[in-house]
């Protein structure tokens, strides 16, 4: 693998960790209350409690992925699922 290819993969990986993963974590946090079977107040509480650990852990998980493609796949799957839930809830 050439140095250029390695660097390109590195940038993609870094972007997944720095931009994609926190955004996906944020989307999951705001979508989660819609699927938690509890009272409204508890659902809000769940969002408040999970948002920070999720956003802090997501970049680490992206960096720990075996490849940039896997990191992006994780980001896209999580974001897609969250957006699907939000699409059903938001007008």
């Amino acid at each position: 693998m050439s140095a250029r290819t390695r660097r390109q993969r590195g940038v993609s990986w870094l972007l997944a960790a720095v931009l994609g993963a926190p955004l996906a974590a944020l989307l999951v946090s705001v979508a989660l209350p819609a699927v938690v079977p509890a009272s409204s107040d508890v659902r809000y509480l769940v969002a408040c409690i999970v948002v920070i650990p999720l956003m802090a852990a997501a970049p680490c998980m992206a960096l720990l992925a075996r490849s940039a493609a896997r990191a992006w796949a994780g980001v896209l799957v999580a974001s897609g699922a969250a957006l699907l839930v939000l699409w059903r809830c938001l007008p």
Partner: protein, 516 residues
């Protein structure tokens, strides 16, 4: 626990890069946070008319307020009005409302004579808002993200330092190589401030992300779009809409009496009046009731004097209690002045910790700077100096702008942001960013140190006069100390000797400060 060299290196890089990128905002947020802790005590400094005590008791102040309301409500007066009642640091009544064009107007009213004067400056409150980046578009979200980065930096720093705490707590070697000295100082400041930084980062993330993202979206996902239910869950239900039936102004003495009956232990400090001049008028009486990490109370009283809603400290549900605890923990409101002074000291330590971390990072990369490194180095150097420079510039503007200037407070805000941006841009364009940053700090320190003398000259009084206003005396002391701190920091940065050009391409050595 001993980390593998690969893991250690990854954690070190993550710690350094995240800290360096976020440092541009972090230094400023810590410094502004320190100032925000004393935003109430700053009022007599920013508004000299508040320095003289006013011999008016509560009944007299309420009577003056009632006369003000009766003269305006139902005529050309505002329909929404916020009134801050006299307090030890501000013996005048402060009234704020929105004009028909949406522009905010704030005035001070003397509770004894009824004299009305336009607000000269909102310096303390403005710096409090900038601490959360609130005035910037999307600022609260950015502040939330910066808080999470800080949490990441603190977490990686903790793991890197595991097993070394006892040794590094007291190790400082100023006579060793420069990077070693910076590294020691960084670790001492980081170890001492670690619990504080972790709490501040966690609570800031909750406050900012909740306000910027969670509240607007979660009301759809958790409350099925019912905004009223969402607001009720945190204890601030929406008020009634105007009925278009005219009515007199609420009787403020009755309103305060009802609030005291409902919550006798709270200190009621503000009236938030809505639908003034309408039969559906109501007043939210805001209060403080120190109950551990729960603080804020509200009693809603109708225009006719009936209690409509009571919010106990902490609010009705678990979420309200979590958010309020985060805010109270972040602001140090759960104890007295001693805690706030400790917070201020730890805040300054944290700003210095970020700064020393930045210097280590720059020193380590100085041997092989790529274009992105040079840009980031200039940006971070400019950002760290800019925070101090903007702070000094806005305090100087508060002294020098003419009192008769229209929209004077807006001018102060513009000067703050203008000097911040100019300082960052200067570092990007100036050939030697370290020199730029050093001079920014030195000039800021000089300005802050001289400010007490400038104020005493302008107001024809003795400087550092303990017999005068205690608030002004403490602010003078604080400004002079901050000025000295900036001057010492500028001197310390100046001690960085230029690297020998012959070493410029040498491979980066093993971290000197990590050696046993």
């Amino acid at each position: 626990m001993k980390l593998g060299s690969g893991t250690y290196r990854i954690l070190w890089e993550a710690h350094a890069w995240a800290g360096a990128v976020a440092s541009v905002l972090l230094v400023g947020m810590f410094l502004l946070g320190v100032v925000s802790l004393f935003r109430h005590e700053l009022m007599p400094w920013q508004e000299p008319r508040l320095r003289t005590p006013v011999a008016a008791d509560e009944a007299r102040a309420l009577d003056t307020l009632q006369q003000w309301l009766d003269a305006r409500v139902g005529k050309d007066g505002p329909s929404q009005l916020d009134v801050d009642l006299p307090a030890p640091y501000s013996p005048w009544l402060r009234l704020e409302w929105k004009e028909r064009g949406g522009e905010k107007t704030a005035v001070w009213v003397n509770p004894l004579s009824g004299e009305q004067a336009p607000e000269r400056s909102d310096l303390g409150y403005f710096l409090f808002l900038v601490h959360f980046l609130y005035p910037l578009p999307g600022g609260m979200l950015i502040a939330g993200l910066v808080a999470i980065v800080l949490l990441l930096v603190v977490g990686t720093g903790l793991v890197i330092q595991l097993g070394r705490f006892r040794k590094d707590w007291v190790r400082f070697r100023p006579r060793e190589a420069l990077r070693t000295a910076w590294g020691d100082l960084h670790k001492v400041l980081g170890s001492v401030g670690l619990p504080y930084q972790a709490v501040i980062a966690w609570t800031a993330a909750i406050i900012c992300l909740n306000s910027a993202v969670l509240q607007p979206v979660v009301v759809r996902t958790a409350f099925d779009g019912d905004v009223d239910a969402g607001l009720k869950s945190i204890g601030y239900p929406r008020g009634a809409k105007p009925s278009k039936q005219p009515a007199e102004a609420p009787r403020v003495a009755t309103v305060l009496a009802r609030a005291r009956e409902a919550l006798p232990d709270a200190r009621h400090y503000r009236f938030s009046m809505r639908n003034l001049g309408d039969a559906q008028a109501y007043v939210d009486v805001r209060g403080y009731a120190r109950q551990g990490l729960h603080e804020f109370t509200t009693v809603r009283v109708s225009g006719k004097g009936e209690v409509l809603h009571v919010r106990q400290a902490g609010g009705p549900g678990a979420t309200a209690r979590l958010i309020e605890s985060a805010y109270v923990l972040h602001s140090g409101l759960y104890a007295g002045m001693g805690l706030r002074l400790t917070y201020a000291l730890l805040g300054i330590f944290s700003a210095l910790c970020v700064l020393t971390g930045n210097l280590i990072w720059l020193e380590r990369r100085a041997r092989d700077m790529r274009r992105v490194d040079v840009l980031l180095a200039r940006f971070t150097a400019g950002g760290c100096g800019a925070a101090a420079f903007a702070l000094a510039a806005v305090f100087l503007a508060n002294q020098l702008l003419p009192d008769t200037l229209t929209r004077r407070a807006d001018w102060e805000h513009t000067i703050f942001f203008g000097s911040w941006c100019a300082c960052v841009l200067g570092a990007l364009l100036f050939p030697r960013p370290k020199v730029w940053s050093r001079w920014s700090l030195a000039i800021s320190g000089g300005i802050l140190f001289l400010l007490p003398w400038l104020d005493s000259w302008r107001n024809a009084r003795r400087v550092f006069d303990p017999a005068g206003s205690p608030y002004v005396f403490c602010v003078e002391l604080g400004l002079a100390l901050l000025g000295v701190l900036f001057l010492v920091s500028a001197w310390a940065i100046g001690r960085i000797v230029p690297r020998d050009p012959r070493d410029a391409r040498a491979p980066a050595p093993v971290l000197a400060h990590e050696s046993p």
